[in-house]
């Protein structure tokens, strides 16, 4: 879902760069006081994992593919501030080293694929911090992952609309419909993969998720 170079107008990308830049700065300030000894390696490998997973495009509809976003998953595992920092690192490497996404669109891409899903994930985090999880946690996480993708997809179309990039023959509603229908399949995969990966990490690295930053991160991120 990376916005390619040249599809956003300067006022739109500059605004998004300012918003996302300020969010990253705030996230760094918050994380600096909270991140724990066991969270740092987890943060590093989760970033590496999401970067790798984003390279794996899976088919959704004929002639269409999608890949994991990961911001929602990271929001659950690491809390919003750390999740935003991890997504910013991934998107920066993708744009600057692999020409994936426009450099000027980096703030916009971080907003829709990093900041929005991280906040949603952080809101679901408390469900996973309880001693036991059941069907409610899985269902909320699955649909939350799908909603995160659809919100991001809608956000991209809104930014293209505000940039006056959509062809004159296409209405905003039509564009959102096309984008969101395609992203329903991608969202379902995002939700399912999120449940599976959170379960796996929680089963193997529970301490790194819970302590010491866990509850503090949770409070500050909602």
């Amino acid at each position: 879902m990376h916005i390619a170079p040249g599809f956003l107008s300067p006022p739109v990308w500059a605004t998004m760069a300012a918003v996302s830049g300020a969010t990253v700065a705030a996230s760094l300030a918050l994380a600096r006081r909270r991140v724990g000894e066991r969270q740092v390696p987890l943060m590093g490998v989760m970033g590496a994992f999401i970067f790798a997973a984003q390279m794996v495009n899976f088919p959704v509809l004929p002639g269409t593919s999608g890949h994991l976003g990961g911001g929602f998953l990271l929001g659950i595992l690491l809390g919003a501030p750390v999740s935003v920092i991890v997504m910013a690192s991934i998107l920066a490497v993708q744009a600057l080293v692999f020409q994936d996404g426009g450099v000027e669109a980096l703030g916009a891409n971080l907003f829709v694929m990093g900041i929005v899903p991280s906040l949603l994930g952080a809101a679901v985090r408390r469900l996973w911090l309880r001693p036991k999880q059941g069907i409610v946690t899985y269902a909320v996480t699955f649909f939350g992952g799908a909603v995160a993708v659809l919100l991001g997809a809608t956000g991209v179309i809104l930014m293209l609309f505000l940039s006056q990039s959509l062809p004159g023959s296409v209405s905003l509603l039509q564009a959102i419909t096309v984008m969101d229908v395609i992203h329903m399949g991608i969202g379902a995969v995002e939700g399912a993969v999120t449940v599976a990966v959170v379960k796996f990490v929680l089963a193997t690295r529970r301490e790194a998720i819970l302590s010491p930053a866990g509850p503090a991160c949770e409070k500050g991120s909602a």
Binding site: A4, M55, S65, D100
Partner: protein, 112 residues
């Protein structure tokens, strides 16, 4: 480094390298959801001026000189994985240093 953290790193990096360096070669080459939407809507040419990073070593997810083969993708994937990991471990070091008045390497359980 504690054995706990060493294991987190080794297992996590192994998984990421296998996915980014190997599995990704077999990924779908179809346009992604946004590209498909833009094609359906007739928005294929960028209407504004954009900035593309220069292809210094990699052209998209492949080595510039190697084309699109398995190893080209693998080198790009593993390099990306290590770049993200290194960047985040560096940032993590800086974050831990911010916990003033406490030993950054103290066991997690002793910190509030």
């Amino acid at each position: 480094m504690s054995p706990y953290n060493r294991k987190t790193l080794l297992v996590g990096v192994a998984i990421a390298v296998i996915i980014g360096g190997g599995v990704s070669y077999f990924a779908s080459r179809s346009p992604d959801g946004l590209e498909k939407t833009q094609a359906d809507l007739g928005l294929t040419q960028p209407p504004h001026e954009g900035v593309t990073a220069p292809a210094v070593v990699f052209h998209e997810y492949g080595l510039k000189w190697l084309g699109e083969g398995f190893w080209s993708n693998a080198i790009a994937g593993v390099t990306g994985v290590l770049l993200v990991l290194g960047l985040l471990l560096g940032l993590g070091r800086w974050m831990k240093a911010g916990k003033s008045g406490r030993d950054a390497d103290a066991p997690a359980s002793r910190q509030p």
